[in-house]
Structure formats: structure tokens, C-alpha cells
Amino acid sequence: MGFIELEGISKNFGCNTVVNELSLSVKKGEFVSFLGGSGCGKTTMLRMIAGFETPSKGSILINNVNVSNIPPARRKLGMVFQNYALFPNMTARKNIGFGLRISGIPRTETEKRVDEMLDLIHMTQFGDHYPHQLSGGQQQRVALARAIIVKPGALLLDEPLSALDAKIRIQLRDDIRAIQQQLGITTIYVTHDQEEALSISDRVAVMREGRIEQIGTPLNIYNRPATSYVASFIGTLNMFYGSVVDAEKGVVTVGESLLRTAESISVDSGKTVRVAIRPEALSLFNNETMSDANFLPGRIETIKFLGSTVRFIIKFEDKFISMDCFNTPQFKMPQKGEQVSVTFSREACQILPGDAIPFCYHE
């Protein structure tokens, strides 16, 4: 039994079903992210856990207690909001100590714990600043300290970094993860940023239309997407329609080329499937290429220099392939219009059901 159990949760707003029969078990001390696009139901789910929305169906258990109908004030959960939600009439110190003050903790104890929190978030010198005197990153640190000072059972974060600059975002997400691990607090994190979710979570739940499309470790989600949606949502991906030639041996045709996969295919021969390959799994043919690798012939259409990597868009038959190469000193840059042979291992070739929207590569 997990520390947080979501059992068949549904939420309807009028005729609109925002969360649909969602179930999830979160272990104590685990960091789980809800990842998905706008309107997928991730924030609504988080708000139901916090108690700001009531589920239309299903139950929420925290530490074996059904909290579905318990008001937010009695759930003992810490929440960090997207727009910080700091009280503008209080200094950082007063904001952090608010939860302790209203629960009647003595002043000396409150001050001591506030000092500890200010130290934890590296903001000792900003304790007497008002929110409007702090930067976005500093405000979010204060919001985090305010949420955890009351020692909540779990921490809920609703897109806490989305309003911040890219540099601050990276720094703060690392800090959030470090604090979470230091305190061992169970955390549910909502984001639409895949990099954010993959970099700090123990597990990622990719959501779509109110359901969890796939849940797994970041590595598993990235390397083994269970559905076309997950494959297309996480990272950049080349995807082609193919036809199964030999399901047992894992052989498919894409256009006029024959591709081999590492495992057998669970779809009957002759059926249509989708073949997914990550751009970083592709390389240009050279002498070191394995003899059993897959090949696709093509012509370089576009070269995008991205600093540490170079992205090539290669035309293969009537399709386009995206390929990433590291910009190492040894790398010999091919020219635009050059005929090349793109190669990739059998393991890089992922087979997905072929019933979704066709496209060539997805960024």
C-alpha cells in the first residue's frame, strides 16, 4: 500500500470529464511527476489531492486515511503554487512562519524553525524583505519553505518553475530535488516541461485526456514509450509507418527499406505498425558501423548547428529523418545536399501500434 493512493478518481465539470478513472500509488518518500500538455487534467488531479476540488468519483487515501471529503486545512499537505501565492502584506519570515503561528506554536519555536528554513533555502539575509522586493526565484524558495516548515505529510507542487527564467528554473529544480531528498518527503509535482520531469523525478506519469498514458522511471519513459502519444510527447522522435514482414524475427519494411528490431513484434505479419527512432540513436555510415545495423539512404536537406550537437534533416524517400550528432573535434561535417547513409542499431528501433496520426519526425 502506497503512502498516497488514488483509486479510480474522476472529475467532471458539467459534461466535461477532466480526470477519468485515474489510479496511482505513490510510495513514502517518492518523487512522482504528472507530465502532460495543457488541459490533460494534471493540475485538477493535484488540486483534488490538496482538497481544493472534490472528486466526482473515486477516493484519495493518504497514509491509509480516506481524505476525499476532508477539507484542505486538515489534510496536512504542503502546496507550492505556480504564481508563488505569497501573502503580500508579510515579509519572507512572516510568510514562512504563517502555518506555525496560526497553529499556535510558541513564538520562540516558530522563530527558530523559520531561521532553519531560511538557511535551508539560502535566504537568511532576505528574511525581512516583502514579496514585491524579491525576485521570482526567491519568492518561489520562500513559498517552498512556507510549505515544508509545517512538516506536511506530502508536498504538492503545481508547475512551480513555469514563471521563472530558464537559468533560475534549472537551479531551483535541482534545489527542490535536493531538499526533497534531504527531508525524505513524498512529493507530487505537476509540470508540462518534460526535461524538468525527467531530471528530478523518481517516476513520471505522462497524462493525456484525464488518464495516465504511461507511468515509469524517466529512463523507462524515454527509452521505452508504451504508446505513440508518449513517444511523441517525450523528446524528439522520428516516426514512420511500416509493415510487419516477419513478426517472430522482428522485421518490418519502411518504404523500400527493410528494418530489423532487437525483439519480436507482437503484431501479426502484414499488419501496419509505427517505427520510432530517436535522432540521437542515428549516425552516418562509417567503417565502424556494425554489420547487422539498419540502414536508410537519404540526402541532407537542412543542417542546424546547436552548439554541442548538430541536427541534420535528411530526406529519405518521401519522408524526413531528424538525426543528432555530437559536435566533437573528430566530427567530419557533411554538406547540404550530400547523399548519405543513415545507420542505427536494432535496439534503437521501437515498434508501436500503427493506429495514430502519421508523421515523420516530431519535435
Partner: protein, 308 residues
């Protein structure tokens, strides 16, 4: 062609001419932006600065134009002191009661979860009602709550209640207060609604999440955040009532000794005629109104820093 540079003038190239004209055009454009404000400044100068200046100068003069402080000494006469006190009392009463009524309505339409249509209707009505003052408002109240007013007659004929037997009198302090409240409430709705809209839902949720009750939220967060806006709004209502003349004059005909009516009597010159004393009275009003405006602006600045 004479060599310009040889005549001691700076040598300018074509590019130099172009950049000079560009700079000149840019300056003209920049100055032209101020032209749009010209009517405002003309209006301000003609109808505020000049009359206020002549009023201040006149308050330090006697009938012959000589310098005197007698007008200000006369302000301490019991009837004038009482006039200021009644006006301040009326303004404060209607500002507080109108402010409270307006706050409740604004809260209902901003945070009370009412349908958007009702919000639009109340906002539009408030815009109209807050400007419905003066003689038309006085007659509207006379025709409804006067001795032969519609509601007075209706109450008497249907329920047998004579409003005026209960002590109510439209032409008294409380009758005038009621009439003022009619335009004070909608004005409060219009002023305070943006402040209530600026109250973030997340503040309430964050305090709830930290274990606070509704009372604790309003005590520690809601009221302190709203207080500058509320105070500023009440000060504005105070100023609005303090300067009102036509409504009071049309309704009570000078029965209630208000400062604007007293100023009118001194300047118009029926029985009382001492324009310079009138100017001194008006100068006193200007001081009170200026203090109100300064307090209003300071409080607005404070609240806009919080609710942004």
C-alpha cells in the same frame, strides 16, 4: 558652389543632413505627444488653478481689497464651526455606510461566484447611479420618500405605517444621508471592485493549505491586504460627499447648515453677503479635500504595490 567648411561652418555630409533631420523630426514627434494633453492642461488651468488662486487671494482680503486675516478668524464663529462639523459628520457617515454597502455588493459580484451577467449589470448600473446626483436625485427621493412620496403613501395606505410618525424625515440629517448613500454605494462598488479582483484565489488556498480557517485568512491576510484600498475608497467617498452642493440644497433648501451651502449663501449674497468669508470657507474646504486626496494617493500606492 562656395565651400561651406571654408567659411568656418561645420562641414556636413548628406548622411549628416539626414541624421539632423531625423533627430529634428524625432524631437517634434516627442513634443507632439504632449499636444494631446493640451485640452486637459487648459481646462485645469482655467477652471481649477485660476479660480483656486483667486479664491486663496480673496480669502486674505477684505471688501476693499486690503490684506486681512479677519476672514480666517471668522471661521471660528460657532455657526461656521458647527457647519464644518455637520459637513464632516455627514460626509463621514455616508462614506462609512456607503462604503460598507458598496463593499458587500462588490464582494458578492467579485468573489461571491455570481454569474458574469450579474456582474456586468451591477457594474453598468453603478456607473450610472454614481453619477445620478444633484437636483434630479433630490426630486427622485422627494417623489418616493417625501411626505407625499410614492413609498410613503404606499406604506400608509397598505400597511398603515406612517414613515414620518416613526421619526423619519427626508429633510433631516438622516434623510440627506440616505440620499447621499444612493450615489455613495455605487461609487464604492466602482472603486473597490478592482481591488477585490486583485485578491488572488491562491492566497486563500495557501492559507487554507497551511491550516488556517476562513476567519484566520481574513484576519491575517485578506483584511490587511485590502485595508489600504478600503481606506482610500472611503476617503474618496468622504471627499465626494464633502463637496456635494446641489443635492443638499435641492432637498433641504439650506435647512441643514452645510459648508458648501454656507459658501453659496456668502457669495450669492441674499441675506448673508461676504464673498471674502466665502473664499476663506472654501479655502478650508480645499485644505480638507487636499488632505483627503494626498491620503487617497498614498494608500492607493501602498495597495497597488501589494495587489499587482
Amino acid at each position: 558652389m562656395p565651400d561651406i567648411s571654408a567659411q568656418g561652418r561645420p562641414h556636413t555630409t548628406d548622411a549628416g543632413h539626414i541624421s539632423f533631420f531625423r533627430l529634428y523630426a524625432h524631437r517634434i514627434r516627442r513634443q507632439a505627444r504632449w499636444l494631446g494633453l493640451a485640452p486637459f492642461f487648459i481646462f485645469l488651468f482655467a477652471f481649477m488653478i485660476i479660480p483656486a488662486s483667486s479664491l486663496i487671494v480673496g480669502s486674505f482680503q477684505d471688501n476693499t481689497g486690503a490684506l486681512t486675516f479677519d476672514n480666517f478668524i471668522h471661521l471660528l464663529k460657532p455657526n461656521i464651526v458647527s457647519s464644518y462639523l455637520i459637513t464632516i459628520n455627514l460626509s463621514a457617515t455616508t462614506a462609512v455606510l456607503g462604503g460598507l454597502g458598496g463593499l458587500l455588493i462588490a464582494y458578492a459580484i467579485s468573489l461571491g461566484g455570481l454569474p458574469q451577467g450579474i456582474r456586468s449589470f451591477v457594474s453598468t448600473f453603478s456607473g450610472v447611479a454614481s453619477n445620478f446626483a444633484g437636483v434630479p436625485l433630490a426630486f427622485a427621493f422627494i417623489s418616493t420618500l417625501g411626505r407625499a412620496g410614492f413609498i410613503t403613501v404606499l406604506l400608509r395606505s397598505i400597511f398603515g405605517i406612517d414613515l414620518y410618525d416613526t421619526g423619519f424625515n427626508l429633510y433631516s440629517f438622516w434623510g440627506l444621508s440616505l440620499t447621499y448613500i444612493y450615489f455613495q454605494i455605487p461609487l464604492m462598488v466602482l472603486i473597490i471592485q478592482p481591488a477585490l479582483d486583485g485578491m488572488k484565489k491562491e492566497w486563500r488556498e495557501a492559507s487554507e493549505n497551511l491550516g488556517a480557517s476562513a476567519f484566520q485568512y481574513w484576519f491575517h491576510v485578506g483584511i490587511p491586504v485590502l485595508l489600504p484600498s478600503l481606506s482610500a475608497a472611503v476617503i474618496l467617498l468622504f471627499g465626494n460627499a464633502f463637496g456635494a452642493y446641489a443635492t443638499a440644497y435641492a432637498l433641504t433648501g439650506g435647512l441643514i447648515n452645510l459648508v458648501p451651502i454656507l459658501i453659496g449663501a456668502q457669495i450669492r449674497g441674499n441675506v448673508l453677503h461676504d464673498p471674502n468669508l466665502g473664499y476663506a470657507l472654501a479655502f478650508g474646504m480645499i485644505i480638507i479635500m487636499t488632505a483627503s486626496i494626498i491620503a487617497y494617493l498614498w494608500l492607493q500606492r501602498l495597495s497597488s504595490r501589494w495587489i499587482k
